[in-house]
């Protein structure tokens, strides 16, 4: 193995949700939620028209 200096990094530790990161997170959460709302507004245009028939006809043979 090539010689090199390795800086010992602290091992990762489990982090519970920290108070300091909460505001940023909920802001991002709002953003994601609004994006989801926009997507749901327009999604019917791309969805398969007859869901029941589509699901019924989606039959695959086993593979691998």
């Amino acid at each position: 193995m090539a010689e090199r200096e390795h800086v010992q990094k602290p091992a990762p530790t489990r982090r519970e949700s920290e108070a300091t990161s909460a505001p940023a997170k909920s802001e991002r959460g709002e953003e994601i939620k609004s994006e989801l709302d926009d997507l749901l507004d327009e999604i019917d245009e791309v969805l398969e028209t007859n869901a029941e028939e589509f699901v019924k006809s989606y039959i695959q043979k086993g593979g691998e």
Partner: protein, 502 residues
Amino acid sequence: MAIPKTIGIETEFGITHRGVDDPDPITASSILIGAYVAATHQYVAGGGSPVSWDFIDETPGLDARGYAPTGSMAPVVETHLVNAVLTNGARYYVDHAHPELSTPECADALSGVRFDRAAEIIAQRSMEATSAILPPGEEIVLYKNNSDGKGNSYGCHENYLVDRSTPFGEIVTHCTTHFVTRQIYTGAGKVGSEVAGVPASEVPFQLTQRADFFEEEVGLETTLKRPIINTRDEPHADARKYRRLHVIVGDANMSEVATFLKVGTTAILLALIEDKALPRRIEFASPVAAIRQVSADMSLARTLEMADGTTATALDIQWELLEACSNYVAQRGTDNTGGPTAEAVLQRWEQVLTSLSSDPMTLSTQLDWVAKYRLLEGYRERHGLGWDHPRLRAMDIQYHDLRPSKSLAARVGLETLVGIDEATAGVTDPPSDTRAYFRGECLKRYRADIVAANWDSMVFDIGADALRRVPMMEPLRGTREHMARLFDESDSAADLLRRLGK
């Protein structure tokens, strides 16, 4: 001693043929691949047939445990179906009743993501090429998922090169632990359960497509009684030095982050197994029960029964594996785990576990199961539907539709790790840092003189005398670094073979 982790991903696509009364998936798969091969001129010049796969080294019945258990079913290799080798070093063929694309050998997880994305583009171009030749009203559509929701599953397999001297039992123990628990970020999400007798009300939505189909801990089968650890022992490389771990337990991912973590974490863990660097064995009381339990538990909070009588959650175990892998990389570097990519894997792994520990829903642009769940739950709430409504099952399938105009995964804002230009270049150009470079460049430069190719050799016909086979038993030889000058100096395959001393 850990060796560099050459990796590859094989994807069997779901396929439908619309506009015909009695669709046959084998015919549809053959039409699809044939159309792509023709449209991209993947032909032997003058010969009219695509460069074919050479089956001489295919021995899928060999078992890593050193024996073939009585009554076990070795996979059947179907040699009569369409089977092409592409200039990016991939293999594209009809496997059972699905089109399957095996990526070229990749030197790290990021390269794996790039060629997995290139495979999607190849699938898209195949659908376009097929549309051009089918009668009006017919269409062949591909899905990158692993289940039809009716108990039929098809795979997305991962391959990792490991040191032959590593006891297989060690791989079984530690990989089982990882495969059961990594589902919390590798899952592609699924509505309902396909385990007989489990009602939709019990499992309205689960993390993975595949967990329902695993019934054994270890075995050779891939199509029935699927095992968590597959023992196929077919290294496609020097069998004295290498083993190829063939992983059949994962989901196909639409999310690049999920593919990156799936392959990246497994590659690092394998290095720890080779170097005996894991501090302890973490074993489940029942791995098969555990894999289903983890998949069915969206709260990520239910504890698993361990063999030593204690309990732990999948998250607890993933934190422990991450810590072991981080310590290993800090002490020994990343030479055998994918270089700088390994550092990126560890960072992403920690970030994703942190989010899963606090609020998994914040990962809706990174993990497939979260993205799919949020979309379906949002739709369900808005329209007041139950989880058993066909609309939600239809959206589950359509998440994986590979047509850009229809794909729901393409609409949920998934983060990408590879630029579209890089991915598109991967459709035609091989990776530069594995033997796939040799395969792909030979196909680009000397196609007329190549009669067959497989993972570990190429066969040339340069005229008068016997066919010449060039063995490629070392997956990391034949790279651009080794070959670029030789290729530049060789105007013909005969030139190249002379310089190679063949």
